[in-house]
Symmetry: C2
Subunit: 407 residues, 2 copies
C-alpha cells in the first residue's frame, strides 16, 4: 500500500469542484461537487440520530434503491435539518438540477449538507451553485482540494487522504475527504465523508466493508459527545481500475479493506485532532481487555470525558480522572488490576500501576502531555482484545466557538 | 410543610462542626463533623462508578450491616480514591478516632471524602482534625454552616436546606447539606450529601424513600457528565421528634416523602446551578412523554449536551442543538411532533412547532436565555409522563478550573 497525494480525485474517472455559492458564508467556497465519469456502486452509513436531516433521508433512499450513483452535491452553512417537507423537496430539486446539468438520472445524485439546523436552504442559490460546479469540475488534485475546502465549517484544516494498492495486476486507488469539527460523536459514521475508488467490487461487499470499518474508525472519535443530525459517509466505486470485480471475501478484498481502513482511520483522526478549539489529538488505547466491545466502550469513555479533555488542555496527568472515566463506562472490572501509561511520539511513562498512582515525575508527564498528539494507554489485564478511540482537548476556544455559533 | 432556615443541625439532637485541618487547602475549613446525640437509622445511596473511593466502600458496609450510625466525618481536598488498602485503612483509623472521641462504636461512624483522586490522606492530620471537630461540635445554625462550608471544593456557595412538617402531632424537621460542582453526573446519588431528621422511621422505609427520591432529584442533574468515584448521599433519622415510628407506607410516610423530596430537589438544583464555572441554572422539562423513563432520558440528554450548554452560555436559542440532543438520546420518536419552548421566571416563548422553527423574535429569546434560571420545555405529544433535569452552562471558567485543578 502506497500513501499518495490527493483525495477524492486520486482514483481514475473522478472529478470534483468547489465554488462560492453564497449559501450562508460570504467570500469563500461553500458548495462542492463530486462526480464520476461512469456510474458507481454506492455504499453509505448514516447518523443514528432519530432527528435526521433531509439529505440523510434522501441519500439513504439512493444508496438502498438506486441501481447506481454518479454524483454528490454538498453545501456548507445550512444543515437542512428540522426543515420538514420543504427541506426534502430542496434535496430533490438539487438532485434534479445536477442531473440535468450532468446528463445523468436524478436518482444517481446524492446530496449532503452541514451547518445551522432549522433554517431552509435558498434553492435558487443552490441551483446556481450547481451550474458553476458542473462547469468547473475537473479530474485534478486542485479540484479535489477545492471540493474539500468548500465543505468546511468550523474546521481549520481540509482533510483528505489517498492510497494506491495493487489488485488483480491493476493499480487501484482509494481516496477520501471529510469535514467535521463540532457536533462530532458519530454513531454509524462521521459528519460528512466521501470516499472514491476505481475498484470493481460488488455493492454488497462495498457496503459490508464500509459498515465494518466505521466501527473501528469514525465511530471511535468524539469531539463533544453530540451525534449530529447530518452524519453521512458514502463510498463510490466506479470500476475503472479494470480489475475483475470482487464478489467474495478473498485476498483482494482484504487488500481493499486494508486500504479503506487506512483512509477511514486517517480521516477520522484528522477530524478528532481538528475538533473545535482543539490544540491536541487525544488518543486512548485500551489493551488486554476481555472483549473488543469492552475495549471500545472503555476507550471511548475516556476520550469523551469533559474532565480528561480539560486535563489534556492543561497538560496535567490527572490519573484520577482517567480511572473515573473508565469506572463509569459501564464495564464491570477490578480497578486494582489497571495500569495506565501516557505517551507522546518521543516518550512513554507509567502513571498508574494496579489502580494506584506510580511515583512518576510530574514535570516529565506534563512534557509528554504537551505534545500535539497525546496517547493514554490503558492495560486492563483481562484478556487479548484491544481498541483505540480519538478525541481532542476541551479548550476556551471550544466555548468561544459554541457560545455563539450562528452569528 | 414549612421551609425554615438552616440545614443539618435543624432537626433535634443533631450537632455539627467545621474546622481547619490542613489536609490540602490552606487557611480554610476542610473537615466537617455531623453527630447525633442518640443513635440513628441510616440509609444511603452510593456511586455507580466501578472505581469506588475507599469511604464509599466503608460507608456501604456501615449502612448495610451496622445496627445504627451516629456520626459522619468529612474531609475536602483529597478524595481517598484509587488508594488501595492504605486508603481503606485510613477510613478505619478515622472512624476509630471519632469513635474514641465521641464514645460511640467504630461501626457507627461514616466517613466521606472529596477532592483529588489518587493521593493518600495524611492520617495524622485527619486524627488531629477529628479532635478539633469533636471539641467544637454544637447544635446551632452556625455549626451547620461551618460544616457545609468545610466540605466545599470548587463550589462557590454552601448548599443547605431545611423544612418542618407535622407527623403524629409532633413537629418533625428534615434538613440537609451537600457539596458538588465538578465531576457531577450522579448515578445512584450525588457528590456528597447528608440529610438529617428527627423522625422515627424504620430503616427499610428510610432506605426505600431515599432510593426512590434520588431518581427524580440527584440522578437528574449533570454538570459535566462525569460520574464521580465518591458520590455519597446519606440520611440519618434519630427519632427524637417523638412520633410513633413509621413502619408502613401511610399518610405520615407520604408527608415525610414530600419533605425529603423538597430537600433533595432543592439541594440538587443548588448543585447544578453552582456547577463549575456556571453562570446559569439550566432546566429541561419534558412533558407528554410516553413513559416516565423516556421523559427522564430525553431531558437528561439535553442538559448533558456540550452544545446546548454552550448555547445557554451564549444566550442563543439554537433550536437545532436541542432537537439534536433529543434525537440521539436513544428514544425512538417522530421529530415532527415535537414542540419546544424557552422560559425564564418572567417570560415564555415557543421556539419550535412540529419539529420546525417558529418565527420567533431572536432578541426576545436571547433576553429569556440571559436569565440566571433558564428552562427549556419539550412537549413530545406522546403521552402523559413528564420529568425534569437540571444542569448548567458550559463556560470559559469551567475550562479554567479543570485545565489545572490539582495546583
Amino acid at each position: 500500500m502506497n500513501v499518495i497525494e490527493g483525495g477524492v480525485t486520486a482514483a481514475a474517472g473522478f472529478e470534483a469542484a468547489g465554488v462560492e455559492a453564497g449559501i450562508k458564508y460570504k467570500n469563500r467556497k461553500d458548495m462542492s461537487l463530486l462526480y464520476s465519469r461512469v456510474p458507481c456502486r454506492a455504499a453509505g452509513v448514516f447518523t443514528g440520530n432519530v432527528v435526521k436531516a433531509a439529505p440523510v433521508l434522501w441519500d439513504r433512499e439512493i444508496v438502498a434503491h438506486s441501481p447506481y450513483a454518479q454524483a454528490v452535491v454538498v453545501n456548507a452553512g445550512i444543515a437542512n435539518a428540522c426543515t420538514g417537507k420543504q427541506g426534502y423537496d430542496c434535496c430533490r430539486q438539487t438532485a434534479k438540477k445536477a442531473a440535468e446539468e450532468l446528463n445523468i438520472p436524478e436518482d444517481a445524485v446524492l446530496v449532503a449538507s452541514t451547518g445551522v439546523i432549522g433554517w431552509q436552504l435558498p434553492v435558487n442559490k443552490i441551483e446556481a451553485g450547481v451550474e458553476k460546479l458542473v462547469k468547473e469540475k475537473a479530474h485534478t488534485r486542485e479540484a479535489g482540494q477545492a471540493a474539500v475546502e468548500a465543505m468546511m465549517t468550523t474546521d481549520t484544516k481540509p482533510k483528505q487522504a489517498a492510497v494506491e494498492i495493487e489488485i488483480d495486476g491493476k493499480t487501484v486507488t482509494v481516496g477520501g475527504m471529510c469535514k467535521g469539527s463540532g457536533m462530532i460523536h458519530p454513531n454509524m459514521c462521521t459528519m460528512l465523508g466521501f470516499i472514491t475508488t476505481d475498484l470493481a467490487i460488488s455493492k454488497e461487499l462495498l457496503q459490508e466493508a464500509l459498515r465494518e470499518d466505521v466501527q473501528d474508525t469514525f465511530n471511535m472519535i468524539s469531539v463533544d459527545g453530540d451525534t449530529s443530525t447530518n452524519d453521512t459517509l458514502v463510498v463510490l466505486a466506479n470500476g475503472l481500475a479494470g480489475n475483475a470485480e470482487i464478489t467474495e471475501k478473498n485476498a483482494d478484498y482484504d487488500k481493499f479493506r486494508e486500504a479503506l481502513h487506512y483512509i477511514d482511520e486517517t480521516l477520522a483522526k484528522m477530524m478528532a485532532g481538528d475538533g473545535e478549539g482543539a490544540t491536541a489529538l487525544f488518543e486512548t488505547k485500551v489493551i488486554h481487555a476481555a472483549t473488543k466491545e469492552e475495549a471500545r466502550i472503555l476507550c471511548k469513555s475516556v476520550v469523551c470525558s469533559s474532565l480528561t479533555k480539560a486535563m489534556i488542555y492543561g497538560h496535567d496527568a490527572n490519573v484520577g480522572r482517567i480511572m473515573c472515566a473508565l469506572g463509569y463506562a459501564g464495564v464491570d472490572f477490578d480497578p486494582e488490576q489497571v495500569d495506565l501509561f501516557c505517551e507522546s511520539d518521543e516518550n512513554r511513562m507509567q502513571i498508574c500501576k494496579d489502580g494506584m498512582l506510580t511515583d512518576y515525575d510530574e514535570e516529565e508527564a506534563t512534557k509528554i502531555l504537551s505534545a500535539p498528539e497525546v496517547r493514554v494507554i490503558v492495560d486492563m489485564h483481562r484478556g487479548e482484545a484491544q481498541a483505540a478511540a480519538w478525541g481532542c482537548d476541551l479548550t476556551h476556544e471550544y466555548v468561544n466557538i459554541n457560545a455563539d455559533y450562528r452569528s
